[in-house]
Symmetry: C2
Subunit: 316 residues, 2 copies
C-alpha cells in the first residue's frame, strides 16, 4: 500500500512530518506501506537526509513546488495551485497511485479536495468527520459529525451512526458498538426538532446497535462507543475537549493519565468518512507523534478496507 | 424582601434546604430577607427546630401537604397538586407575598410554573435559563440558553444576549460585559444557519458589547463574559461542564482550585431570565452550600431589580 503525505502541512512543516515518519519507521522496521512524501524539494530533502530517510526503501519523494497557506481560500487555492502538495496529494490518490492521503495543512482545502476529487461514496448523503473521545474506562469512543455538516437532517445523523459503527468496529476494535444520540435528556421524545426526528430512525436502523440518548455528561463516561450529533454541536464539543488538555496543562495536571489522553497528538488526525478513499486531516499544530498516529490510522483504514465496507453497506 | 423556598425539592429534602438556611443565617446575622419555608409540616418543622431556626425572626413556615415528585408530569402535577410546595410557592410569588422563589425540585414543574404563573415580561419572546461558566482568570462568565429553548431563532439569541448582559453587569458585577456568539469558527459568516443569521443581529445591537464569535475552546478561557447559543448546544455544554468536576473527582484532582469551581454547589441554581420575578431552579443533588448560594443569588436578583431592568429595556 502507498500512503501520500503532505509534507508542507502544519505549523512546523516539514520538520514534524519528517519526525513522524522517522518515529514510525523506527517502531515498524518492516513497514507495510510505502510513503509518498509530497513537498518542496529544498525544504523536504535536506530533512529526509538529516533523519536518514532519503534512501529508505519505504520513502519516495514527490516534488510539489507550491504550498497552500493556512488562510488561503480553499477552492481558489486548490484551483490556482495545482502544483501544491495538497493538489498533488489528491491527484495521486484519485488516480490510484496512493491508497490514502494525510495532511495537517489547510483544513478547508483538504475537505474541498476530498469532496471534489475523491468524492462521496454512492448512497452517502453527507460525508462526515469524526473525532475520538477518551473514555474514563481507558477505551476510546467516536463522536461525529464534528464540523463538516453544521446543519443536519435526521437521515444524516442516521447515516453518521452507520459510518461511526463501522469505524468503531474496524478501527477501534469494538464489537457491536453501542450507538447513542447526543441529546438534552435520556428519554425518547426529548430534544430539539432534529434529535426528536432522528431518534425513531436510529431506533429502527437494523445496521446499528442503538442504545438511546446520551447527555453532555455522558460523552466521556463510556456510555456509548459511537455518539452522533449535528456538526455544530460536535465541533463545539471537539474544541471544548481540546481545551481540557490546555486547561490541565495550565493547572499542571496534564500528567494525569486520563487528562493526558485529551492531548490532540494521541489522535493525530480526523478521518473523513463516507468518501471513496481514506483521507486524514491533522491538527495544524501536529507534532511528530501526531504524524506517526496519522500514519498508523491510515494503514489501519487501508488494511481494514473501511471505505470498501462502507461502500458495500450502501451499494443498493 | 421575602423569599419563598421549596423545602421539599431536591434529593435530600428537606434536610439540605434547612442546612442552607442555617448556613446563610449563620453568615448573615442581619439577613435582609424573610424566608418563607414551604413544605410538609411533619418533615420540615422538626428539622427547623433541630437547627434552631423554628423561632428565628427571619423564618416563616408555610405548610404544603403535597409534594411533586421528580418523575411526575410537570403540567399534570401542578394542576392536580395545588397544595404542593411548588404550586404554593408560585402562588405566593404571583400574588406578591414573596419576591423570589427557589426550588431544587422537579425542573419541568418549575419551568411550567414560571411560564404560566409568573409569565414572560412584555416584549420577551422566549424566557431563558443560564449557567455560570468558571473562567480561568478566576471570574465567571454566563452561558445561555442552557436547555429551555432547544430550537431557537436568530432573534431569540439576540435577546438572550441582552438578558445575559444585564445579568452579567447586575449580578456578576462585570461592567460593559463582552458578549460572544458560540460558533464553529471565529470569522463572521461561519456557522450553521442559526449562527450565520444571528451574527448580524448581534453586531447591530446597540444594547450589548458584541465581540464576535467564540469557539468551544474559548468557553472557559475568559474570552467573553456572556456567551449565547441555542438551548440544545448550551445544555450539552452545561452537562459536559458538570461532568468535568465528576471526572476530576474520579481522578482525585478535584482539589485543584480551578477544577473545584466546576462543582455545581458553587453556583447553586439556574436563574430563569426574562420573566417578571426571580425564579431559581436548583440541581436535584443540591446540598446546603448550593441552597445557601441560591439564597444569595435570589437576594442579589431582588436587590439589583434585574427583572425590573429587563422590563424597562423592553417596555416599548
Amino acid at each position: 500500500m502507498n500512503i501520500g503525505i503532505d509534507m508542507m502541512g502544519g505549523d512546523f512543516a516539514p520538520l514534524e512530518a519528517v519526525k513522524g515518519l522517522h518515529l514510525y519507521l523506527e517502531n515498524n522496521v518492516h513497514a507495510p506501506a510505502a510513503f509518498f512524501c509530497i513537498g518542496q524539494e529544498d525544504k523536504v530533502l535536506p530533512l529526509l537526509q538529516e533523519y536518514g530517510l532519503d534512501k529508505h526503501p519505504a520513502i519516495r519523494f514527490i516534488p510539489a513546488p507550491e504550498v497552500i497557506g493556512y488562510h488561503e481560500h480553499p477552492t481558489k487555492a486548490l484551483k490556482e495551485k495545482q502544483q501544491s502538495s495538497i493538489a498533488i496529494g489528491f491527484h495521486l490518490l484519485a488516480t490510484g497511485k496512493t491508497d490514502a492521503f494525510i495532511s495537517a495543512g489547510n483544513t478547508g482545502a483538504m475537505l474541498v479536495g476530498t469532496l471534489y476529487s475523491i468524492k462521496a461514496l454512492p448512497g452517502i448523503q453527507r460525508p462526515t468527520i469524526a473525532t475520538l473521545v477518551p473514555k474514563l474506562d481507558g477505551s476510546n469512543g467516536i463522536l461525529l459529525d464534528v464540523g463538516l455538516n453544521t446543519d443536519c437532517k435526521p437521515e444524516n445523523l442516521n447515516q453518521f451512526a452507520v459510518l461511526g459503527s463501522l469505524y468503531a468496529s474496524n478501527i477501534l476494535g469494538v464489537s457491536n458498538p453501542a450507538v447513542a444520540l447526543l441529546n438534552v435528556g435520556e428519554e425518547e421524545g426529548k430534544g430539539n426538532l432534529l434529535a426528536q426526528a432522528a431518534y425513531p430512525l436510529l431506533k429502527e436502523n437494523a445496521d446499528i446497535n442503538f442504545t438511546g440518548n446520551v447527555e453532555g455528561r455522558d460523552v466521556f463516561t463510556g456510555k456509548a462507543d459511537v455518539i452522533v450529533c449535528d456538526g455544530f454541536t460536535g465541533n463545539v464539543i471537539l474544541k471544548m475537549a481540546e481545551s481540557i488538555y490546555d486547561i490541565a496543562r495550565q493547572r499542571n495536571l496534564h500528567n494525569d493519565d486520563y487528562l493526558h489522553r485529551f492531548h490532540y497528538e494521541n489522535y493525530g488526525g480526523t478521518p473523513v468518512l463516507g468518501v471513496a478513499k481514506p483521507v486524514i486531516i491533522g491538527h495544524g499544530i501536529s507534532n511528530g507523534k501526531a504524524f506517526q498516529n496519522m500514519l498508523k490510522l491510515a494503514i489501519k483504514m487501508i488494511e481494514s478496507d473501511l471505505c470498501g465496507q462502507i461502500k458495500e453497506k450502501y451499494k443498493d
